[in-house]
């Protein structure tokens, strides 16, 4: 029996996405989280500028240092983003689906001539719109502050790298939005869903760095007589660590904002023969370096969205 549905699954998609975005923009919860992020980010960059002007070096990419320089006790701008972007994304998404149930609006909305697909995709897109707006604002703000306070304009290459960094941050935030969306479809209570997402966030950003070596050590013990086991263990450890989007994001920012980065894995001394250590890579090479990380992140985003989609399509609409 054919199971064809008639009509486009995208009917009403833009309506839902825009309404979600508007709701987020006016909600006190998002205002608080964004305020937190803006204040810390601006603080970090301000401190970085102080550090840069104090130790003016012969750096070709001084402008990019804005993002990566840390001055005690503040971490750098990228470190802040890596830590706080998931929080913003979770705040945007943790009650996307179950909130409709608890407000008892789900069946009323789905009784309108739209598909469920449009509701879920619209919610995701609405979140992405807000994330994109907020990242763009932050990026422009930081760049503007940098130009004003240091007095140097960014070169074309720096702008290009900055834009790639913006894209990477967007993909990273998108992954966490998808995590929150999955939690919101799997758990009926918004509080449980928020806790689940936050737990995952803490594990992957704070504890994963400690867990990965433990697992790798247990799976491939180092044999002191065989140096290759050490290499294998390290590679396994790195592979496990890369399950965390936080690690992938860290590697991407390293590759993009630090042009001298040549590799994100192990390098043997013989591979560095004739290499000019410290010489920057062209943008295309840096992009090539982080390409797998970016693809992995986007793939994770799609897989998570699919999980949310499947679980939502099978759900009973009773509220």
């Amino acid at each position: 029996m054919p199971r064809q549905r008639e009509g486009s699954p995208f009917t009403g998609l833009s309506t839902i996405a825009l309404k979600e975005a508007a709701d987020h923009m006016t909600s006190a919860r998002i205002h608080l989280v964004l305020l937190l992020m803006f204040l810390t980010a601006v603080g970090a960059v301000y401190a970085a500028i102080g550090q840069i002007t104090a130790t003016v070096g012969e750096d070709q990419f001084l402008f990019l240092r804005l993002f990566t320089t840390a001055r005690d006790p503040l971490p750098s701008f990228v470190a802040f983003l890596g830590f706080l972007l998931p929080l913003v994304a979770i705040a945007l998404g943790f009650d996307a689906i179950n909130g409709e149930y608890s407000r008892r609006t789900m069946s009323r909305v789905l009784a309108q001539p739209i598909y469920r697909d449009a509701l879920l995709t619209g919610k995701f897109l609405g979140g992405l719109i807000v994330l994109a707006l907020c990242l763009l604002t932050l990026w422009l703000l930081v760049s503007g502050m940098g130009i004003l306070l240091t007095g140097l304009p960014p070169s074309g290459e720096e702008v290009l790298r900055g834009l790639a960094f913006l894209l990477a941050s967007f993909a990273y935030a998108g992954v966490w939005l998808a995590v929150a969306l999955v939690c919101s479809t799997l758990f009926r209570s918004p509080a449980t869903s928020a806790l689940a997402a936050l737990t995952l966030w803490l594990i992957l950003t704070v504890f994963w760095g400690m867990i990965a070596p433990l697992i790798a050590g247990a799976l491939i013990p180092v044999d002191p007589l065989d140096p290759m086991t050490q290499v294998n263990q390290f590679e396994l450890q790195q592979a496990i660590a890369r399950i965390s989007p936080n690690v992938l994001y860290g590697e991407m920012t390293l590759g993009l904002l630090n042009p001298a980065t040549r590799t994100l894995g192990l390098v043997f001394a013989n591979q560095l023969q004739n290499a000019l250590i410290g010489a920057p890579l062209p943008v295309s090479e840096s992009l090539m370096l982080i390409w797998p990380q970016l693809c992995g992140m986007i793939a994770a985003l799609i897989v998570l969205f699919t999980v949310a989609y499947v679980s939502f399509q099978r759900q009973e609409i009773r509220a």
Binding site: R3, Q4, R5, E6, G7, T11, G12, T15, I16, K19, D23, T26, S27, R103, R104, T105, S107, R108, V109, L110, A111, Q112, P113, I114, Y115, E316, I317, R318, A319
Partner: protein, 314 residues
């Protein structure tokens, strides 16, 4: 009468539990049809199946000749739905809530604004239309839900427990509104566990019990079939055996002893003079006699009592 909703052997199972069990319904254009029964008897599940929000395990549904699973958008654009305990976005005003629904329906904004104004006026919410829905009472939310159905200009309105949790005055208001809408040619399907309350507005009803439809028909036909009459006379008399005195009396379909001196008489017309005459003839003293129309509750209780008895006997 052309039927706009038709189900054939409609069944929904959750694991081994059968929520809706082989339901055959036919609802005609312009009818007010009541799905009545206690909580958990399968009314809401039936409604979800009609809307295509749940997939049937067996059987088929046709709404305006369309399959809600294959052509959900066409079905949903002609059917308005007021869920049980309808919810709205509390941080938005009534007007904004309806505007969102209107955009989902694909209405143009000028047309939508006009329809929203009209609909809010009809449910008498125009004064509070720009207040946040969070401040609304239960009755106002229910009316706002009905406004959405009106705005949609739905051919069929499906209302799930529209009077649930409302005070008597709001209930009456809502029922009046439903009657007006039905008068304008809207087909209305409503579910309720308050049988007596909706019997006044429904042309036909279906009585649900454990996922099955026990009875379908007009209220007057049901009372006649199940209780044998449309009238009930409560009699209090002394010094007489009423059951014996009333044997072979015309129009009387049943006599039931309720206490030492009280009886309940089912009849299909007002038989008070006949009862009075017979009591006096038999030498008894008539204390009190009161007539009322039978309610659906009595039909329901009696019918499923009989069913249970038959089931035990079999």
């Amino acid at each position: 009468m052309t039927s706009v909703i038709e189900t054939r052997g409609l069944t929904k199972r959750y694991g081994r539990f059968v929520a809706v069990d082989h339901i055959d319904l036919e609802i005609g254009k312009g009818e007010v049809f009541g799905l009545l029964g206690p909580n958990g008897s399968g009314k809401t599940t039936t409604i979800l199946l009609l809307l295509g929000l749940t997939e049937p395990s067996e059987g088929s549904v046709r709404v305006n000749g369309l399959d809600p699973l294959r052509q959900p958008l066409a079905v949903k654009s002609s059917v308005g739905y007021l869920p049980d305990q309808v919810g709205f976005y509390d941080n938005l005003s009534a007007r904004e809530n309806l505007a969102y629904s209107a955009r989902l329906m694909g209405l143009e904004s000028a047309e939508a604004a006009k329809r929203i104004g009209d609909a809010l006026a009809r449910v008498r919410l125009e004064d509070v239309a720009d207040k946040r829905v969070g401040a609304y009472s239960r009755g106002m939310r229910q009316r706002l839900g009905l406004a959405e159905v009106i705005m949609k200009r739905a051919e069929i309105a499906i209302l799930d427990e529209p009077t649930g949790g409302l005070d008597p005055q709001s209930t009456q208001e809502l029922l009046d509104l439903i009657e007006t809408l039905a008068g304008e040619g809207m087909t209305i399907v409503l579910s309720s566990h308050l049988l007596a309350m909706v019997q006044t507005v429904c042309h036909r009803v279906a009585l649900f019990n454990r996922g099955k439809i026990g009875l379908v028909g007009k209220v007057s036909d049901l009372t006649a079939n199940v209780l044998g009459g449309t009238h009930v006379v409560e009699v209090e008399a002394e010094g007489v055996d009423l059951a014996a005195a009333l044997t072979k009396a015309p129009h009387i379909t049943g006599v039931e002893k309720r206490g030492d001196t009280s009886w309940r008489v089912d009849a299909d017309s007002d038989v008070r003079p006949e009862i009075a005459r017979r009591v006096v003839e038999a030498g008894g003293q008539l204390r009190n006699m009161s007539l009322r129309h039978t309610t659906l509750d009595e039909v329901y209780v009696r019918f499923f009592e009989q069913e249970a008895k038959h089931a035990q006997a079999a």
